[in-house]
């Protein structure tokens, strides 16, 4: 089994970190994983996304053309990635900043107010964490909640400053 997950949002919403946490958690549970941040056309103040592949088998390509899971934290990301999704995929939409609805009918869509959810939990930065919790509820193949929480500590300690900058 293989999940191809894209997490997308504004720069600064922590999408890269979220992806990394997923990857670490899944790796700890014996999965093959890969993580690539977008750092291409994006710029300061622009959008950011990352591609996470989680699989039982060796991973052929870490790049994703047709995600089986898409988490979008802002509206441009929904517009950009929805159409690329694999049929039958799972789409998680952050309704705090996204008023639009998904158009595809061959996928499963979950709407959730991540930012609100996160702000209630004390930080407006961790909309991404809320999204992850929501994800593994839907797809428990990926990892356990416990593994995810452990990964959080690990990931945070590795992160110190943004690297994925332009030029």
């Amino acid at each position: 089994m293989t999940e191809e997950i894209i997490v997308a949002g504004f720069g600064g919403q922590g999408v890269l970190l979220a992806g990394k946490m997923l990857a670490v958690a899944a790796m700890r549970q014996g999965k093959h994983v890969s993580h690539i941040p977008s750092y291409g056309a994006e710029m300061r103040g622009g959008t950011a996304n990352c591609s996470v592949v989680i699989s039982d088998e060796e991973i052929a390509s870490p790049t994703i053309e047709h995600p089986s899971v898409l988490i979008v934290l802002n509206e441009p990301s929904l517009k950009k990635f929805e159409k690329t999704m694999a049929p039958g995929g799972l789409l998680l939409v952050n309704t705090t900043l996204i008023k639009a609805k998904a158009e595809r009918e061959d996928i499963k869509v979950v709407y959730q107010d991540f930012t609100d959810f996160a702000r209630e939990a004390g930080s407006d930065k961790s909309a991404n964490m809320a999204a992850l919790g929501c994800l593994i509820k839907e797809k428990n193949f990926i990892c356990s909640l416990e593994a995810l929480i452990n990964a959080l500590d690990e990931a945070v300690s590795q992160r110190n400053r943004r690297f994925n900058t332009i030029n």
Binding site: R44, R161, R162, N167
Partner: protein, 249 residues
């Protein structure tokens, strides 16, 4: 009757910048646009943009623009000015660009007294690449490539561009300013205006250094960044006019 002051300068494009919140590049762009409006030279201004956070400066100013390779802006500006002799050529550069990889081009364009204006944004760091040590990084300042803080015993002290250029004969005008508060923003605007005016008059090389905030890579919020300039940078980088041949005369 109400009147708009501080209107949007004509020379500034409406394109939103990609700069981080509180970044000094935005302030300096605005000042340049105001000066071009006031001197009425937008249509004859040619901007050489560097490689650095301001790599897209030519998209934000409503003037013709040209890219330079990292560090080479003064040489590119030299070639351009020697063809377009009646135009106003601005070389806009960051500290990594102007003092590290481009130190040679910087000194030689100044030494020739090339008839261009160099606007030098000193934010004590490599902004674009995510916060590495620049030639202007302060002693003890932590960056990605000086994780323990700049160790002057190992890599030397922060370099002072105005002082270096002030040893050369040809430059016509050299001044260091800052954009950390209102008074200094206004002084910066005057310096830019005077520098560009001298070029309009064909007086030769002018150089304006501007201390500027990089909240993102300093790890400080914009207001604290402004304070850091005032308290830490200004004592090391004295804000003053180093040379003004127009006044001497």
């Amino acid at each position: 009757m109400s009147k708009m002051t501080y209107a949007f300068p004509q020379s500034l494009s409406e394109t939103r910048t990609h700069y981080c919140a509180g970044c000094g590049h935005g302030i300096v762009h605005k000042l340049i646009a105001q000066v071009l409006d006031e001197l009425n030279i937008r249509e004859k201004t040619l901007l050489v943009a560097p490689v650095g956070c301001s790599v897209l400066a030519y998209k934000y100013l409503n003037v013709d623009g040209l890219e330079a390779a990292h560090g080479r802006a003064p040489a590119v500006a030299t070639g351009l000015k020697r063809v377009q002799k009646d135009k106003i050529v601005l070389s806009y550069q960051g500290d990594g660009d102007l003092l590290a990889i481009g130190a040679g081009e910087t000194i030689h364009a100044a030494n020739r007294g090339e008839d261009i204006t160099v606007i030098f944004l000193n934010n004590a760091i490599y902004g674009m690449t995510g916060g590495q040590m620049a030639p202007t990084t302060m002693e003890g300042q932590k960056t990605l490539t000086s994780p323990q803080g700049r160790d002057i015993a190992d890599v030397g002290s922060a370099m002072r561009a105005c002082e270096l250029i002030d040893t050369l004969e040809a430059p016509y005008y050299i001044e260091r300013c800052s954009v950390h508060d209102v008074k200094n923003v206004n002084r910066t605007k005057n310096a830019i205006k005077r520098a560009i005016k001298y070029q309009v008059e064909g007086r030769g090389y002018s150089f304006v250094e501007i201390l500027s905030m990089c909240p993102t890579n300093w790890g400080l919020d914009p207001v604290k960044s402004a304070k850091w300039i005032e308290e830490d940078m200004v004592p090391y980088y004295p804000l003053k006019k180093f040379r003004d041949k127009g006044e001497e005369a």
